[in-house]
Symmetry: C2
Subunit: 321 residues, 2 copies
């Protein structure tokens, strides 16, 4: 059986970018431009909790990095590099080859090279930890506490597809091959909005990426900023594939569905053109879905302009699903 070190070399070691020390020492080394801050985030993905055991390993490698690059995007930070921790019950070269291929492809696409990590056996299932680093000017970072009353609330891309795919795959919705085919990519191959996040630095006032559901994640921004918000349900950008999905199911997917990895952000109304220009530069659609209020609370306005009741809770990793 190949040793841990051979495995690291074969699948994960790449030449370190100029000025960095990469895989193979006690630490990786990197620099940041003068005056910039290092932005960093980490996620831990557990088999059976965050992914199905039979998931395509190429998609898993992609997603493990994507959810972290998404955190850099939500901060407005430019990626520098990443670390990968990988605990595996068995060593399967084909699995490792596919996983590393998916990982490295996104690392290249988002200029976030793998510069270090840790591989180990596991008596449990597969566990994956990814840590990312980026650079951001301290006065341009898109913090959660920057939302101001009067700000418009925006989301990028479309909502709901990942949630529907999850419910189809987990048997919570009856099998529907066509709907699964149309939504599975959103769940397994989320596209982090790194270009948009960087373009919004200095334009938006606050941002978060939607991992646990729109209402729950926007709720964190509201709490941190000491404000409230009103969303217009009719303006939420549903994924086109969801046409035909039962309205109650759709409503839950849009408001409470997790694993979205779109950005939810707020900006002053007079920056609306700058927001649209940033989105155009990044090649991502953005939609204004409501406004920030001085009064606390998060309301979703129905077609009659009145707040809806029975809002879904977001996904909480510690709650019973």
């Amino acid at each position: 059986m190949a040793s841990e070190f051979d495995l690291i070399d074969r699948y994960f070691k790449r030449p370190a970018p100029a000025g960095m020390l990469g895989v193979g020492d006690d630490c990786a080394l990197f620099g940041v431009p003068p005056g910039m801050r290092v932005a960093t985030s980490t996620d831990l993905l557990i088999e059976g909790r965050h992914f199905f055991p039979d998931v395509d390993p190429r998609a898993l490698g992609h997603k493990a990095l994507a959810v972290n690059v998404s955190d850099l995007a939500a901060m407005g930070a430019r990626p520098i590099g990443c670390l990968l921790g990988l605990a595996l019950p068995t060593v399967e070269p084909a699995w490792l080859a596919a996983f590393s291929e998916g990982f490295h492809a996104l690392a290249e696409a988002s200029a976030c090279p793998l510069i270090g990590g840790d591989t180990t056996g596991s008596t449990l299932g597969i566990a994956i930890s990814v840590t990312v680093f980026g650079a951001v000017a301290p006065d341009q970072a898109l913090r959660r506490d920057g939302a101001r009353p009067g700000d418009q609330v925006w989301v990028s891309g479309a909502l709901g597809a990942a949630d529907i795919a999850y419910r189809l795959l987990s048997g919570q919705m009856p099998a529907d091959a066509g709907l699964l085919a149309a939504t599975r990519g959103a769940l397994e191959w989320p596209q982090p909005r790194d270009a948009l996040g960087q373009a919004l630095a200095g334009v938006a006032n606050a941002a978060i990426d939607i991992s646990d559901g729109l209402l729950q994640d926007l709720g964190h921004v509201l709490k941190a900023s000491g404000v409230g918000a009103e969303l217009r349900f009719a303006d939420l950008p549903a994924a086109p594939a969801l046409r035909g999905v039962d309205p109650a199911r759709l409503r839950h997917a849009l408001l409470g569905g997790g694993d979205v990895y779109e950005l939810c952000f707020t900006a002053a109304p007079e920056r609306a053109d700058a927001v649209r220009a940033a989105a155009a530069r990044a090649g991502v659609a953005v939609t204004a879905i409501g406004r920030i209020t001085a009064a606390a609370g998060l309301a979703v306005l129905g077609p009659d302009g009145r707040p809806e009741t029975d809002l879904p809770r977001g996904f909480d990793h510690f709650s019973t699903p």
Copy 2:
């Protein structure tokens, strides 16, 4: 049941150090002094693989951070902060309180505050990922590829106790309460040599921390530096508690025993006084145990000055134990 966010707040959130953004946003933010590099390392600890399920959670919190601070030490870097990923099958406040206490106590002692992380449920057992950041001047970093022929090889502290404790606890050695009491601290409460590592920056030529066994870890330095080494077995600093242990068992523990977290480093012979001064400043014993050779290979010289045979292999996480 308390939500994930309440838990984070209750046990892990601390006021962020000045100039940093800590727990509670998409990313943590920190700066580094001009001209310094960020040193970073990550480790993934899996229940049943890296710790026993019934380990004292306070010790586990300590060790999860200690093994990472040890990597900063082996690079000569000054700690800046850390991230914690924690996957738990169940939420037990007493466990979390003890774990976080052990973690924070070492974070304070080594000036490596917790600035972000991720908590999640787990369908498997407990998984812990820790990522650390430090600052080091690029020309003073203790890299693995800096060993030069003629360098002295040094180790800090004493060797072997953690390996013996592991074998007692796992039943590979017959029960011996006295020996366990004398060695268990080395396994469960390793003391990272951060003060020594920083004091050796600019003094030593190369360093590594001993996690997988002296021979295996020194082997990485030799391979990266393109050199060999000769160690004198009689000079290896055995932990005093190991007096009386069977000689073959002791030999294996000294040369191949993992989980040591002492530093193994090389320095030019004319820097021997500077090495001793650095060790005195850090309050850590250091011992010269051999020398770097131009010829490849790692020899352990016995009492007669001839190379010993049958050297133990180091611990490899992917090999059968």
